[in-house]
Amino acid sequence: MMNSVHAPRLYRGLLILWLAGAMGLHAHAAAPNDGAAIAQRVYARPDGKDLATRFTMTLSRAGATPRQRLAYGFRTDAPDGGTQSLLRFADPADIRDTGLLVHSKPDGEADQWLYLPALDQVRRIASQRRGGRFVGSDIYYEDLEDRRPERDTHQLVGQEIVNGQHTQRLQSTPVDPGNSVYSRRVAWIHEATLLPLRVDLYQSGAQPAKRLTVHKVEQIQGYWTITDSTMTDLESGHQTRITVDNVRYDQGLPASLFTTQTLADPATDKALRPQ
């Protein structure tokens, strides 16, 4: 009932973009101080060998009662150079125990499986979906993507202060417009943490369609982590705020956590969920 979790693209995205904040700003190494170099630094930013987190997603808009989703996310570096992620929703009840497993490969391809508790079934789902809203939020599936460096060209377009922090303003444009729902992204990269403090996402026209605003960044176990942020649909005013309740890095998460066996058995990952 009411299960709208379909084909989410977790990758490092949800766990890094929102919790440690890369926002798909990746590029080849290039000459110092140009956009590509900054993007490369963002991409190479330390984010731990593995990560477990508990976070709350709040969906709100004026005049409507906010809706909240509580979820746990796990991510690890895979032996093949890719990443593996498991996302488990815990609340509300209509998506309780729904899970998503992603095996992201170094070449950018991915295998994704969705667990539907009502039928106790694991289903393979398409991983190349980019548009569409993740669990009804303002986050598109592409926002969660571990976007490969070569997919965008990057240009440093300024240096600005955002909320008291010095940032580099970086514009990223897809090399192939067909592989992105965005015509361009402009990110305000905090030099010290290599995290975006704000990202404007353009779809068509001169005005951004969505905006990511970072409210809080914490250094946890030595890793800078976005712990409070909001994605705003600038047309509708609808907002999705993600607040991180707990984060643990480098626990040595077992490989068995990232299997369809665990995906289909929510009880088995409970012991590893940060509370």
Binding site: D94, A126, G136, I161, D200, E235, H238
Partner: protein, 593 residues
Amino acid sequence: MTATTPAPARRRRRRLMAATALVAGGACASAAAAPLTAVRVVGFDDARSAAEVAVRVRQLGSPALVRRLADDAFVVQAGAFADIGRAERHAARLQAAGLAQVSLQAVGPAAGASSFAAPDLTAGVDSPAQADTAPRALAPSPAAPITQANPPGAMVLALNDAPPAIAPGRAPATATPSPMAWQMNRMQAETATFTGDDRLARQAQFLHATGGLVWQPSTAMEVRLTARGDAFWQQGWRDHDEARLDYDEVYLRRRWSSLRLTAGAQRIAWGRVDEIAPTDRLSVVDLTRMVLDRLPDRRRTAPALRAEWFGAGGKLDLVWVPAFRPAELPDDDSVWHPVNRRDGRFFGLPRSDLQSALIKAGRFDDDGAGSGGGALRYSRELSGFDYALSAQRVRHSTPYYELDERVRAALAAGSSVPTAVALAPDTFVGRHPYTWVLGGDAGFVTGRTTWRVEAAWLSDVPVTGAAGALDTVDAVNAVAGVEFYPGDRDLRVNLQAGANVLLGSSSMLDRRRRYFTNGTVVHPFGGGRFEFEVRYSLGLNTRDVYFNPELRYLFLDAQQFYIAAHVFRGADDTLGGFFHDNTGIMLGWRAKL
């Protein structure tokens, strides 16, 4: 000739000048700068309290950075100054604004290495109306390095006035769940108005609740004790009201690293395609509302012992059903019963006068006693491709009604229907013959499209021979489906096509071949507050239409109101034809707590 400064040197100089300018403006502390005087609001035991004061400090036009100190205390650093006089004036301004515990502290290069502070030039979160308002540009400053050696939570950058905590429409989830939890897995209330020309009922109402206890003392052990209650009302040809209590999931589960054992009443749904998976033969069909509910709500639990072994990249699933549970049927007078006693019709068979007379005059029973059989399934997920193979020796949970042999012989000898019916205690007996099911299913992805295929060969499928006697034949069921998102947006489309073919040459009343298409289209809109869904099933070689549009309003979390139409049309021996008069409009509420 003009002397030029090398570019790196120019950059270093610009950065140094900028850093000086920012520090002079009370903005930035840097490892490269000289020792500074930090203005700090002190005395916080936790980050939340400090963050609240940081917001207030920013409202005064000052930068604010929450820091955790070595003794676990928190401070709000309101800038660092090269000029101590400026620092003192800034501290005085904060004190004058009501911040009592303001202190000045020397910040050396070591401390400055991981601190940041800059004037807050943007206020609050940008509103949509300010979407194109970029932050004001400043001259660059040297980037402060990341200090990896910091303890957990050592640094907090409270970057702006975060939106206030939002009160959700319900109590938030508990942070530390208890090993024992009460769950209400499904609640539903519905009222229906039937619009068919010759309808059996004018209206019907339905109440449902499923819930119970889940106890998980450890990762290895889990106990579920859940039950369900259903209440039905119907007004029309024959008024009817009924309440039922039933067990739901009642099992003990034990886990090892590569083995999971489950003993008790459980729901086992194999297969990969939607709605009509050919290998889904273990689950117990719930026919109390026929097709009104979504598939998970049309399956009951059955007592079983299940062992799932995980290894070598695959999973082996073994199931034994010690006690067979037949399909859950509605009350005899329900409009959703597969036997229409008013008109004398069986679901799946064409009309006949003799059959009609027998049904109206006859009595019914079911032979659901005995074991349910066993089954195994091997499944594996590969890169880009999943598959499963299954072999089952199970019983059909849906009854197939056999005319009593004495009654049939009497009719063949020329007896009247009342005379023939009187010869046997039950005119029809619901049969659940054992069947072998050999099947497989697979799923793969191409681009943004997911493909699913599934097929099964079945033995001993019951049919009615031309003479009215029960017979069994082999059959093949196959379905292929595709799921995609047109335009890569929120609209989800799942389309399937399939065939059910009865093999053998014997004559039978049942339709030998059925080709069909079915599917689901779901479109969320209104910021996720609304959903429009259409389910359909169409016969391809006979007229058989089922069409179910539904509009949902999702309010709070996990609750929804809905209005739905269920439209049935078709030939007599089809779903659409049999339930033609049950076309109607449903209003309802669903929830999960």
